[in-house]
């Protein structure tokens, strides 16, 4: 009470939740969770997919109503539950992971949408919205044409719009759910500065990110959730990435460089001066049988475009490609698949798998010819093919006919890999194979990758997370602005050295 430093005001939580329980379709999503945020702090909420982070955010913002017994205190007021309108009006703002924007509406409307919600219907004040939007963007040091529909902007700019939206009005606490997921490094740095400024001006920020380096850099306290239950609240000082991972998964990880020399193996893929104007230029590389070639670089470096060109879905404008020594050029991905190239999409949810359909159908879709007997699909062949790959890759499933969406991210990814292995590829391109896969399940994916390489498969591993390629590839290429600017051997180079080059 007589604390001369006056620090006790900061220890009093701005927002406190206790006894939060939530059940979805019989599954407990949150079990007696407590959570608190102090004014002006940067608080990290950490946990694997499905640990309950998003559910907790939705309860705080009133989208979900917690089960009875919950206590929510915000700014000295007690609530049994929130409503979206009160939450926004009283300064609780969110940047949703999926952004929750309205692509057909103008940038101004997207940013100032909260002025149109709540209360009785009234006339829209477009001028005021435009001012609010311009101001919010100006605070971020960005200028966009606020009258254009949001859909005319790329994903990174949409992310900025989502951030700007959270800054509208009197923000007291801002939740950021994976705000850096689609930002480049410089944009991310910029965002982190914004977070620091917000914090300095007394706004609390709750930060959710799978990039643990970011988390450690910015936050002062870390709340860890696992399987819907609270693990604990920890100060960020003295915390390490591996310690957070341990707390999140309840397991310990020990990563080692898997790289081995593969120079004596036959060359499977050879690219010479491959170019697709505006996307990548003069890319020359080789991948040998049994070799895992890592390609890393920032978002927008042209990695995915390069992969899609190998896969026949984009067409290079110059250069040569050869597979097993024979020149190749594809007019569609069907030809690429027939030639023995498989591509695991970075976007598993909308491009990699047909989410509502069954595990079995997703697994056989690329290799239907194998299960056809006498012109018709043979149910027996299909079952046994699926059974084979499920066992081979250790996928945990209920029934073959269950929807693929019922599986965890890691198991879905295994099915996606199995789908491509079933086509008997010579070259497997894995584009960001751990996106949306729990930290604990990632190692399992890379074990599979290593095993596949041992069978002689040539693999290209693309990831913007340098450690992933560093530990799991035999060689690492650094791609920047469409060009290959560096090659590293993980057995000789250090992780820090490559990270320095990539993130600089």
């Amino acid at each position: 009470m007589n604390n001369p430093a006056g620090a006790e005001g900061n220890d009093k939580p701005l927002l406190a939740l206790r006894h939060i329980n939530m059940t979805f379709g019989g599954v407990k999503a949150l079990k007696d969770v407590s959570f608190e945020v102090r004014p002006g702090e940067v608080h990290c909420l950490a946990g694997e997919n499905g640990s309950g982070k998003s559910t907790l955010i939705k309860i705080i913002t009133g989208v979900y109503r917690p089960e009875t017994g919950a206590e929510i205190t915000y700014d000295g007021q007690a609530y049994s539950h929130m409503s979206p309108v009160t939450a926004q009006a009283s300064g609780i703002k969110v940047i949703w992971q999926d952004l929750a924007l309205f692509p057909e509406m103008s940038v101004a409307e997207n940013i100032a949408f909260e002025t149109m919600v709540g209360g009785w219907p009234r006339l829209v004040n477009y001028g005021r919205m435009r001012n609010i939007a311009t101001d919010a963007l100006a605070r971020l040091g960005v200028s966009l044409d606020v009258d254009l529909p949001l859909k005319s902007y790329a994903i990174a700019q949409r992310q900025i719009v989502a951030i700007a939206r959270a800054l509208v009005g009197e923000a007291r606490v801002v939740f950021m759910d994976e705000p850096t997921a689609s930002l480049t490094q410089s944009e991310t740095d910029y965002l982190l500065d914004i977070v620091r400024n917000l914090s300095a001006s007394g706004v609390a920020v709750v930060f959710v990110s799978h990039r643990l380096a970011e988390v450690l850099e910015i936050s002062s306290r870390i709340t860890v959730l696992r399987d819907g239950a609270l693990v604990g609240v920890y100060p960020a000082d003295g915390m390490t990435q591996s310690r957070i991972t341990e707390l999140m998964t309840g397991k310990t990880f020990d990563q080692q460089v898997r790289a081995k020399p593969k120079q004596d193996r036959p060359v499977v893929l050879e690219l010479e001066g491959l170019t697709r104007r505006g996307q990548f230029e003069d890319v020359s590389l080789t991948v040998r049988s049994g070799e895992t070639l890592g390609i890393t670089g920032l978002l927008g470096a042209g990695r995915t475009e390069l992969a899609l060109s190998l896969f026949g879905m984009l067409h290079p404008t110059a250069g040569r490609m050869a597979l097993d020594g024979r020149p190749i050029s594809f007019s569609s991905n069907r030809e690429a698949i027939a030639a023995g190239i498989a591509y695991l999409s970075e976007d598993r949810l909308s491009l990699g798998l047909v989410q509502p359909q069954s595990i079995a159908d997703n697994l056989v879709i690329a290799s239907l010819r194998k299960i056809i007997a006498g012109g018709l699909i043979s149910e027996d062949r299909k079952r046994s093919l699926v059974k084979h790959w499920i066992a081979e890759l250790g996928v945990k499933i209920g029934l073959q006919d269950d929807a693929i969406s019922t599986l965890s991210g890691g198991n879905q990814q295994r099915v996606a890999i199995a789908k491509w292995l079933a086509t008997d590829p010579k070259l497997l391109i894995l584009d960001a194979p751990t996106v949306g896969v729990d930290v604990g399940a990632r190692a399992g994916i890379f074990d599979i990758v290593a095993r596949l390489a041992e069978t002689g498969l040539a693999i290209i591993l693309i990831s913007d997370e340098v450690p992933e390629v560093y530990f799991n590839a035999d060689r690492v290429l650094h791609m920047k602005k469409g060009r290959i600017v560096g090659e590293y051997d993980p057995r000789q180079a250090s992780l820090a050295e490559i990270e320095e080059a990539v993130y600089a």
């Binding site: 989208v63 006339l123 005319s152």
Partner: protein
């Protein structure tokens, strides 16, 4: 101007097509490019435009409605019968009656959709059959010709004799149409409710997280279409001077085609009143022009269908490719 074309590609393209067709018809026929013909066009298109702006609101909110045209038939019939009971009435009473009946039928759709989570196309195909089946069952398909005088008398709001002896007329349906168009435009572009409808259609989950009342959105959208359908039903009865139970049967698809042609997206979040009116007008101008050119009436529909087919093929390919628009990714409901 350039930015208008960019943000309103469909409307601009439609306008261009309409101008080209009109230009052609002005040279090809004697009477197309006359005021008399222009007003004639408006008179005949009024009912469809009223339907169209109503349907637009439902499409913007991410729904679809198949039942509105037969709902309008039900409203017509109910209104005519009730006017017969009370013996008389007037326009104001007629609109109140028809509007209320329309809203009730629209709200029933919203109730099914919201309360039982039935997808709008399933719900409205059901109510289409229910409304039409019951109407035909109870009326036995018998038309009503004995309508109150005020309803069947042509109301000419403005008339003017041109130098060549033809008459330019604006009739009541046009006025009602203009009021409905302006009201819908105000609703969807100038009120918070209207913007919430857009947001709800564009990204329902995002709208939910903002605390937009989902149920209210459904009732407002389908209620508005019900209101418009009720009004259109009464106006159609006035225009045709009779109530035929199956007169509007099949109209729903023609109107739907025109609205989608006007840039509304099946799936929600997109569409404008201007585009919607242009969509209806393109169809009626084509028909009108073919008529004036002396083309057999049997060939009208064929040519109209072909034009729509060509128009969508063009508007989905070249226009988006010609203009430097960021292609929006396909959205699945």
């Amino acid at each position: 101007m350039h930015s208008y074309i960019r943000t309103h590609a469909t409307e601009s393209a439609l306008l261009l097509v309409i101008l080209l067709i009109s230009l052609f018809l002005s040279f090809a026929t004697e009477n197309f490019f006359t005021l008399g013909n222009a007003f004639d066009l408006l008179n005949t298109s009024s009912v469809n435009i009223i339907f169209a702006v109503g349907l637009l609101v439902v499409l913007i909110a991410g729904g679809i409605d198949i039942s509105f045209a037969v709902a309008a038939s039900v409203v017509q019939y109910v209104t005519a019968v009730m006017l017969g009971w009370i013996g008389g009435g007037n326009w104001l009473f007629g609109f109140l009656l028809a509007g209320t009946a329309g809203i009730v039928l629209g709200a029933f759709n919203a109730f099914l959709i919201h309360r039982f989570r039935i997808i709008s196309i399933v719900a409205t195909i059901s109510t289409f059959n229910i409304y039409f089946g019951l109407l035909m069952f109870f009326t036995k398909g018998v038309s009503i010709y004995d309508l109150p005088d005020w309803l069947t008398t042509r109301v000419v709001l403005f008339e003017h004799e041109m130098a060549n002896g033809t008459w330019v007329e604006i009739t009541l349906p046009v006025l009602v149409m203009v009021v409905c168009v302006i009201a819908t435009w105000l609703l969807i572009t100038r009120t918070t409710t209207g913007r919430q409808l857009y947001a709800f259609g564009d990204n329902p989950e995002g709208a939910r997280r903002f605390g937009i009342p989902i149920g209210a959105m459904q009732f407002i959208a389908f209620g508005w279409l019900g209101l418009m359908a009720g009004i259109a039903g009464l106006v159609q009865a006035h225009y045709a001077q009779e109530v035929v139970p199956n007169a509007l049967y099949g109209r729903e698809l023609d109107v739907l085609a025109a609205v989608v042609l006007g840039g509304a997206r099946l799936g929600g979040g997109k569409g404008s009143v201007f585009g919607c009116v242009l969509g209806v007008l393109l169809v009626s101008i084509t028909q009108n022009g073919l008529n004036l050119m002396g083309v057999s009436p049997f060939a009208f529909k064929m040519i109209v269908g072909a034009i729509i087919l060509v128009a969508i093929t063009l508007s989905n390919t070249s226009i988006e490719k010609l203009l430097p628009l960021a292609r929006s990714e396909g959205k699945r409901p």
